[in-house]
């Protein structure tokens, strides 16, 4: 044995003795401190949560939320029932803003030309430059993403009046720009809905509202429930929820759109050239549409040409289809302004540039051309939450505050305006977009609060304004007044003709058509560094932590590509590489790509994952790139996917049964002889027996419940490698089932939380009684008893138990998730589980306990609806209902008697408290034989 790092026996014994001595000395715990206020705010109770109404942007549009803050820390986002774009529910992006707020990678310092700088240094340089601008030498160019804030619109208008020659450009990184009025379909009133590559149920600022409306239309008396046809090229949530789906490449969809819009309008449109089966589909769909009269609704997607969209709009108008038209504020830049901006930039005309809260070097024009040009701009300033790709190319980077840290206002996609109020002081030395624009207007120390209030102040007394202001903050929605606005002068809107770039870009004939969609969990890349969203399984593929290249099976076969093979997708302008996913039901000749990945400077979580689909056509925000090649690279990169994790054994017809509209599920609704059980008697009688019923017909697969659960219950992120090992920790998973024809399946979603079995198989196998029942029927997991044998996990037939293989939340976090600000996100009412401990859904026991304690204090029983679980609150379609079985009038009791009620794996006799309602289809009898 040699010396070096080897340790001698003597030294080992010494260390052992020292360790033993230290452990004895360590017996006395350090004091724990309590720090009371010096002067406590009135009405404050230490440790009790406070709730504030505000709004969060997605793609620029507001969704109203109510944020829960404990001792000044925002910890949970919930929907605002009074807000028309929330209706009390949330989406994954809203829920995950908590993670974004505490992201340690969020930019917190100003970066000057060479090094870290300060706001005053920036203002000094700005003053020197703006003097030049006033003489007309270097007009200011402002580039933003979609702006809906009345205050920011006012500020930009005023600035362009103050500094002549100011030009403003805006673009939507998710693509799908629409000119004129925004169309918000009334899916609840429509009877026959045809989605032409539109994805109303997919991710976006209106997902919550459209999802609710769609399911409302489906819930109306069974015979009159709406019918959804989807014509699309790659799978979307809309296609997955459709009664009939037709997969066609974009050109085919365009032809169908023109044909049915024309024929529905009574005209004589040329019939689209379609194969026999598709022709049959279109004819049946048209007949159905005509029969629906005013209930017929066509939805045109962003991949259709402007002409097709107009034809569809005209047909809707003529038929009186239920669509709300929302007029945007006057003076907004043309949605295709990006082309103008690029023309100016490439022409060397931009000397003074403010990039405000957007990242064009990644999401609009990635690549060397743009980067070189931007770097050459003498006074380029980037203001954003992250020191991202664009920031790296600009002379200055200014850190922006998170929406939960700053005052602002926002408009929702259906026109409702909210005031955005901060829940916490900025964690870093950041300022809001309003304050940055005010710097440009020459105010050295602007206050975002004053700027926003100035927009809403009318000619009135202070008292009247304060009353209105407070009332508005409480309700979270502006009513009864219009913002002060100074309309944008014509000089501010793009004066140049549209860049002829798009026309010049004639794609080669043949090859594949690439279809680009915002990623279902990362959207346009803005959420790349959000670990909750990265680990959230994509609704259909169940992949995590990367995007994939989806291919139709025939194409994959022709290329001899298998799932997980890396393929290159190349256009004339660029190429990307990603793992292939063979998607049954995707249109032939189409490659499906999603945006939001391929970040180069996102942060520790998001950098280097996946590919950037915009590289195929930099500078264009179109959703379709024609004439691309797909090449097999010969490498493999399997995607960490949760599809096969925790899969259930059983007959598909029993796991996720399906009925057609008006039909009953055999055996449902009748009280059944309980299956005999070997387990002991059930829990003792108590005034409460909690139960949950999940309506699978109403589940659109949006994942909002999964992230809401993660946020409420301090669920850890494990990272891609651990996901690949089958160790994802989500307590609530959404199982995707393939139904019908195996070659072109339909999809069904089934959220699976803990079943809280009355005869729970996990309980008798636990050697330390860590898995036990309580009197209210909850199957509880006692973390401080658990020794980690995992017997319960292997004995659980529903596979809902999750084991902490590592201290995912308490010392062995993935990447930088253990860094200091991140710890502030935890819900103090829920234990942060340690390594070696089993965990699972608790029915949000902390909320039940809170309600029960309140009930015991006031001596009044918990009313129906007095306890809601986090998943139930988040669900846009109200698919999840929770309540007390002892209350005969409760909603869960009513649903348990429904004709569609069923129990998962009922034959096992576990008597779950979580039960389900069967899926409902409303197929067109003329297409009855088809499975699509």
């Amino acid at each position: 044995m040699s010396a070096g790092t080897e340790i001698s026996r003597r030294a080992a014994l010494k260390l052992f003795a020292a360790g033993a001595a230290v452990s004895l000395a360590g017996c006395s715990r350090p004091y724990e401190e309590i720090l009371p206020y010096v002067d406590m705010p009135e009405g404050m109770a230490a440790g009790e949560p406070e709730y504030y109404a505000t709004a969060l942007p997605l793609g620029g549009y507001a969704r109203g939320v109510i944020v829960k803050a404990v001792e000044g820390r925002p910890i949970k986002i919930a929907g605002n029932p009074r807000h028309p774009a929330s209706l009390g529910a949330t989406d994954i992006f809203g829920e995950a803003e908590i993670m974004a707020l505490y992201d340690p990678e969020r930019s917190g310092t100003i970066r000057g030309p060479n090094s870290i700088s300060g706001w005053s240094e920036f203002f000094a340089e700005l003053l020197a430059r703006t003097d030049k601008a006033k003489s007309g030498a270097a007009p200011l160019h402002i580039l933003t993403s979609t702006v809906t804030s009345p205050t920011l619109l006012r500020q930009i208008a005023e600035l362009s009046g103050q500094v002549p020659g100011t030009r403003w450009f805006a673009y939507d990184p998710a693509g799908g720009a629409a000119e004129g009025a925004r169309l918000v379909p009334r899916l609840d009133k429509a009877k026959v809905i045809v989605s032409l590559d539109a994805d109303p149920l997919g991710p976006g600022p209106m997902q919550v509202v459209l999802g609710r409306r769609f399911i409302d239309g489906r819930r109306s008396a069974d015979q009159r429930m709406s019918r959804l046809y989807a014509v699309e090229s790659i799978w979307t949530l809309t296609g997955a929820n459709a009664d009939h789906r037709l997969a066609l490449p974009p050109a085919g969809i365009e032809a169908i759109a023109m044909e049915i819009a024309g024929r529905l309008g009574g005209g004589n449109a040329p019939p689209a050239d379609l194969p026999g089966e598709a022709r049959h589909f279109v004819e049946a769909m048209l007949a159905d549409l005509k029969a629906a009269g005013q209930g017929a609704l066509l939805l045109a997607g962003g991949s259709l040409s402007a002409a097709a969209r107009k034809a569809v709009d005209d047909a809707n108008r003529k038929a009186g289809a239920p669509v709300d038209r929302i007029e945007p504020p006057q003076g907004l830049p043309h949605p295709e302004a990006l082309g103008d901006f690029l023309a100016s930039l490439y022409g060397g005309k931009v000397e003074n540039l403010l990039v405000l809260d957007c990242n064009p070097a990644y999401d609009a024009a990635p690549g060397k051309t743009f980067a070189d040009r931007l770097e050459a701009v003498p006074f380029a300033v980037h203001a954003g939450c992250y020191d991202d790709e664009t920031a790296g190319l600009c002379r200055w980077h200014l850190p922006l505050s998170h929406p939960l840290e700053a005052w602002s206002d926002l408009t929702s996609a259906d026109g409702a305006v909210s005031i955005v109020q901060p829940l916490i002081r900025p964690l870093y030395e950041t300022r809001s977009a309003h304050e940055v624009v005010a710097l440009y207007a020459g105010q050295p120390t602007p206050s975002g609060h004053d700027i926003v209030r100035a927009t809403w102040r009318q000619d009135e007394t202070d008292e009247a304004f304060e009353n209105w202001w407070r009332g508005t903050l409480v309700s979270g929605i502006v009513s009864g007044r219009a913002p002060k606005s100074s309309s944008l002068s014509p000089a501010a809107s793009p004066a140049e003709a549209l860049a002829p770039e798009d026309a010049a870009r004639t794609p080669p004939k043949g090859g594949f058509t690439a279809v680009l969609r915002p990623d279902p969990t990362i959207y346009d890349g803005r959420f790349s560094n959000n670990a909750w969203l990265q680990e959230c399984p994509k609704p259909l593929s169940k992949g995590t932590w990367t995007n994939v290249v989806s291919l139709a099976p025939v194409d994959a076969q022709a290329l001899s590509v298998e799932d997980g093979d890396v393929v290159a997708v190349a256009s004339v302008e660029g190429a990307v590489e990603g793992p292939a996913r063979i998607d049954r039901g995707q249109a032939k000749g189409v490659v499906g790509l999603t945006l939001g990945y391929g970040r180069l400077r996102a942060g520790a979580i998001g950098t280097g994952l996946g590919y950037n689909a915009r590289l195929l056509a930099p500078g264009s925000l179109g959703n379709v790139v024609a004439g691309v090649k797909v090449i097999r690279t010969g490498r493999r990169a399997p995607v960490p996917s949760t599809q096969m994790h925790f899969s259930l054994e059983g007959d598909l017809g029993k796991l996720l049964p399906e009925v057609t509209a008006g039909e009953a599920l055999p055996g449902a609704g009748k009280p059944r002889e309980p299956v005999p059980s070997l387990f002991g008697p059930g829990p003792a009688k108590d005034p409460y027996s909690w139960a949950m019923v999940i309506d699978t017909a109403a589940c659109i697969g949006c994942n909002a419940c999964v992230i809401a659960c993660q946020s409420e219950n301090n669920i850890a992120v494990v990272g891609p490698d651990e996901v690949a090992n089958g160790r994802a920790m989500h307590w609530l998973r959404i199982d995707r089932y393939d139904l019908g024809d195996a070659a072109e399946p339909r999809h069904g979603f089934e959220p699976v939380p803990c079943m809280h079995c009355e005869k729970a198989p996990c309980e008798p196998v636990c050697p330390v009684e860590a898995s036990v029942h309580d009197t209210e029927g909850l199957n509880v997991q006692v973390y401080n008893r658990c020794v980690g044998t995992r017997f319960c996990q292997s004995n659980c037939p529903y596979k809902v138990r999750r084991f902490n293989w590592f201290a995912y939340n308490s010392g062995q976090e993935y990447q930088d998730l253990g860094k200091e600000p991140m710890r502030a996100r935890f819900n103090p009412d829920v234990t942060v589980r340690a390594r070696g401990v089993m965990e699972k859904c608790t029915y949000c026991v902390q909320r039940i306990s809170g309600a029960r304690r309140e009930a015991e204090k006031t001596d009044t029983p918990i009313p129906e609806g007095g306890v809601t679980t986090a998943c139930q609150d988040a669900c846009p379609t109200r698919a999840i209902q929770f309540g007390n079985l002892q209350d005969p009038a409760s909603k869960v009791n009513r649903l348990r008697a429904d004709r569609r009620h069923f129990t998962l794996l009922a034959e096992l006799g576990t008597r779950p408290r979580t039960t389900y309602l069967a899926r409902v289809r409303n197929p067109n009898p003329k297409l009855a034989g088809d499975s699509a």
Partner: protein, 218 residues
């Protein structure tokens, strides 16, 4: 070949064999005793405080109500410690130059809170709610002892799970009338089952779930 074992080895072997189970039993007994002892639970321990606050003086002699300083105790989970301003309602007039109150004056002047040290500490996986106990007939002194006799605050009870459960199994016997909840003295215990049932009925307390794990752990 020489003998390997000395004749004494027999005795040693028997002694070792006998002591193995004894040692094992001892280890368990000592551990168990140690675990429940005040050495581990901290029962009867005083904790250093920045200001030697006397409950005996304020509660026993002056008769201040518990809620004057611990305002959250009947409303929310955390009883709350008084903000510096509460101390100063009296001490801006009384003992204005006392050396022992210097940290309070300093806190008021600088706006930096006083750093009190916790006397009653529960593990992080235990969720205790003061208000639900206070509102259902459990007085302060049931856990905190006679506050009118504590010049320096002392941890009066062990706060072990067994100690909690002893009460949760028979809550009625520990309940008091509303008027006595904030009585700084410990009332005489009653073991009258009829009174216990009457108390449970008076406070509308369901006992079925009171020993559920989920009542305190989640």
């Amino acid at each position: 070949m020489a003998q390997i074992f000395h004749p004494r080895a027999n005795t040693v072997a028997i002694a070792v064999l006998v002591s193995i189970p004894v040692v094992v039993v001892l280890v368990f007994v000592v551990n168990y005793q140690l675990h429940a002892s005040s050495y581990t639970t901290g029962e009867g321990r005083f904790v250093d405080q920045p200001v030697p606050f006397s409950h005996k003086h304020h509660v026993g002699d002056l008769g201040l109500d518990c809620r004057y300083c611990h305002g959250g105790v009947d409303k929310v989970a955390f009883a709350g410690l008084p903000p510096t301003h509460t101390c100063m309602t009296c001490h801006s007039q009384l003992f204005t130059n006392a050396a022992m109150l210097a940290p309070v004056r300093q806190s008021l002047a600088t706006g930096i809170p006083i750093r009190w040290n916790r006397v009653y500490r529960l593990p992080d996986y235990v969720y205790f709610d003061h208000s639900v106990h206070i509102r259902n007939g459990i007085g302060c002194t049931t856990c905190h002892g006679d506050m009118s006799e504590q010049p320096l605050t002392e941890k009066k009870t062990p706060l072990t799970m067994g100690w909690c459960l002893a009460c949760h199994r028979h809550p009625g016997t520990h309940m008091r009338d509303e008027a006595d909840i904030f009585d700084p003295h410990v009332p005489d215990p009653h073991n009258d089952p009829r009174k216990a049932v009457a108390m449970l009925r008076h406070y509308v307390v369901e006992t079925a779930n009171m020993t559920d794990c989920s009542v305190c752990h989640r």
